[in-house]
């Protein structure tokens, strides 16, 4: 028996929180980012840049409203284009926030504590970006209220048998419940900021937002009850949202869309891209604000493992799509599968396989998962891959319908790109505002974690 080699499972695990922290030190460190830290050139430059991009988004939307959706690359038969690609991409990104805040909470995964708050913020901002696309894709966004059931003089109602109406209810419920969940989680932390605020306007703003929360044991008892129930409600909700989004495709008879694998494969893809986005945000955030004590290698490693697992489910989904196309013997499905490999958009498909399946296999190696820079690059690659996936699904199927007379081509215009990049700017700008306006890590939960962990930062 060798005495030098330690068995794998005996290696000390990375701490969830660096040793030596107290209730006061975690509170000081997180609250200081919001209350006392000067703005700094990095934040100002980043905010200015993203703000400029948001102005571009406003120009793009204004021009769209003036000229109509003809400024985009959409046509007949490709009526969906970038708007729906981006909608599905953004809404999927939001899913990781809910997974971390709700599902990992129910599973008692304590490592979620230091990443749940900004992951939930990411969810809200991603849902905001997502919701924008179907709204402006209607072409007449001021008529969007037609989608809600209201008593009109025309006497007609929305078509409740259509997945597109299910989508309206699913996404608006998701946005509302995510906001409620986020606010409930924030309540004790807003009170913490109120108690520590030095300037008058900080005291007034955080005082109003915290609603007079006073950390009473009775309040905590009801609070925990409500939080647990919200987690239980958000869990099936998050699974339902991307399921309903996949119904937008799967209920149609279009080749490549009409498959039963879509709901689970969409949900897995959503979590895959969402965790990639959490990493894209967490890695610069912990660096910029010195939060490596709280967002440790343990977190990065765990998130990388979740990405690997969901990435494999997505790979399985791609495999089943091909298998079922050939197994069914349906000539349209077979033709579409061949179009993905050999058609005019095959380079998108191969780029997708490279980004989503091949490159992420590097995550099997512990050395890669622990290399922060490499992990950041991989998270960007996976985000790109998931965007390509939605492009492949939307565009290849719509350009290769049943009859050659209905075939077409699609290419995005400047305004398509301006709108998409604009929402990236909006998302990033909101993140910039969030990290300086609200605690990016749940302070009360971190105090609880200090209480629960031992001196080595282990449970």
């Amino acid at each position: 028996m060798s005495t030098t080699a330690q068995p794998r499972d005996m290696r000390p695990r990375d701490p969830m929180i660096e040793p030596g922290h107290t209730y006061a030190s975690v509170t000081d460190k997180i609250a200081a980012v919001v209350l006392t830290r000067p703005l700094g050139i990095g934040w100002l430059a980043g905010f200015a840049l993203t703000f400029t991009v948001v102005m571009m988004l406003f120009v793009a939307i204004s021009w769209l409203i003036i000229k109509g959706v003809g400024i985009w690359g959409i046509n007949i038969p490709i009526g969906w284009g970038f708007a729906i690609v981006n909608f599905v991409w953004w809404i999927g990104i939001g899913h990781a926030g809910t997974l971390i805040s709700a599902i990992l909470f129910l599973l008692n995964q304590k490592w979620r504590t230091s990443i749940n708050r900004f992951a939930e913020a990411m969810t809200l901002f991603a849902v905001a970006c997502a919701g924008l696309f179907p709204l402006i894709h209607t072409g007449r966004p001021w008529m969007a209220y037609y989608m809600f059931p209201y008593p009109s003089t025309m006497g007609v109602w929305p078509q409740f048998r259509s997945p597109l109406i299910w989508d309206v209810f699913a996404v608006s419920t998701y946005g509302t419940v995510s906001l409620l969940f986020w606010f409930v989680g924030l309540l004790p932390d807003l009170a913490t900021l109120r108690d520590r605020a030095k300037s008058r306007y900080q005291q007034v703003i955080y005082g109003m937002l915290s609603m007079g929360w006073r950390n009473s044991a009775r309040h905590w008892h009801r609070y925990q009850s409500a939080y647990l129930l919200l987690a239980g409600l958000a869990t099936p909700l998050v699974l339902s949202v991307h399921t309903v989004v996949s119904f937008d495709f799967a209920v149609a008879i279009v080749p490549g869309w009409h498959t039963t694998i879509f709901p689970p494969y969409f949900v897995a893809g959503a979590i895959y891209s969402g965790f990639a986005m959490v990493l894209t945000l967490a890695i610069p955030l912990r660096k910029a604000y010195g939060l490596e004590d709280f967002i440790t290698m343990r977190h990065l490693d765990n998130m990388a493992k979740v990405m690997l697992a969901t990435g494999l489910i997505v790979a399985y989904g791609y495999f089943v799509e091909f298998f079922m196309a050939f197994y069914s013997g349906n000539k349209f499905d077979v033709f579409l599968a061949e179009q993905r490999l050999h058609g005019p958009y095959s380079h998108f498909y191969f780029a997708l396989i490279l980004c989503n399946i091949l490159t992420p296999q590097l995550l099997w190696f512990s050395k890669v998962r622990r290399n922060v820079a490499l992990l950041f690059i991989l998270s960007l690659i996976i985000n790109t891959g998931m965007w390509l996936e939605r492009f492949v699904i939307v565009v290849i199927s719509l350009t290769r319908d049943f009859m050659p007379s209905a075939w077409g081509r699609y290419s995005a215009t400047f305004w398509d790109y301006a709108t998409f990049v604009g929402t990236l700017g909006l998302f990033t700008m909101l993140i910039f505002l969030f990290v300086r306006g609200l605690p990016a890590i749940a302070i009360a939960e971190m105090r609880e974690l200090v209480h629960e962990t031992d001196e080595g930062g282990q449970l």
Partner: protein, 184 residues
């Protein structure tokens, strides 16, 4: 000395503790000593503390259930009424009450109703928003959101008297004991 009206400007007596264990111990001792109106304030939820101050049952789950059932019935009822009663459309003899197609919206509104009721119910039962509360008059109380643990024996307690409560808290290892004034 046992009536609240004898202490018109006093909310209670507050003891400050350094660890959750000390507070939990003191809260249990207060209960055993016969104090009924006791509240504890902690920077994070502490298991068993609510029970120790005599608070077990909360209506939040029941309110959530009501919100969920109400949301679900509203969701299904809305779709049924729109599709089968208000504007029935006979499309090749298909059933007007096509209930499987109504399930997604019913589900979403169930979750929405339950979630809104859970949050609003929790806030309402906690009587929030409540901008003023006497405990905020104690300067040291700001540490309740950092690293100090507080126990308050309230003036409306039948057994309340200032000196007795102060002594009780000191004997229970409270580091600071202060009166909580109520200026309203």
């Amino acid at each position: 000395m046992t009536d609240h009206h004898h202490h018109p400007h006093l909310h209670g007596v507050m003891g400050e503790f350094e660890t959750p264990e000390q507070l939990l111990h003191a809260a249990r001792a207060a209960r055993e000593a016969g104090y009924k109106h006791v509240d504890a304030y902690t920077p994070f939820p502490i298991e068993g503390l609510a029970q120790a101050i005599g608070f077990r049952w909360t209506a939040v789950p029941l309110i959530t259930l009501i919100g969920g059932v109400g949301g679900g019935l509203t969701g299904f009822g809305l779709q049924y009424w729109c599709s089968a009663i208000s504007y029935p459309m006979n499309i090749a003899g298909r059933p007007l009450n096509s209930w499987p197609a109504f399930i997604p919206v019913t589900f979403e509104l169930t979750v929405l109703g339950a979630a809104i009721f859970a949050v609003v119910g929790m806030l309402a039962l906690n009587k929030l928003p409540e901008p003023y509360h006497p405990v905020f008059n104690v300067e040291r109380f700001a540490a309740a959101s950092t690293d100090r643990f507080f126990l308050v024996i309230e003036a409306r307690d039948p057994k309340f008297d200032v000196a007795g409560c102060a002594k009780f808290l000191q004997d229970s290892a409270a580091r600071h004991v202060t009166e909580v004034k109520d200026e309203q």
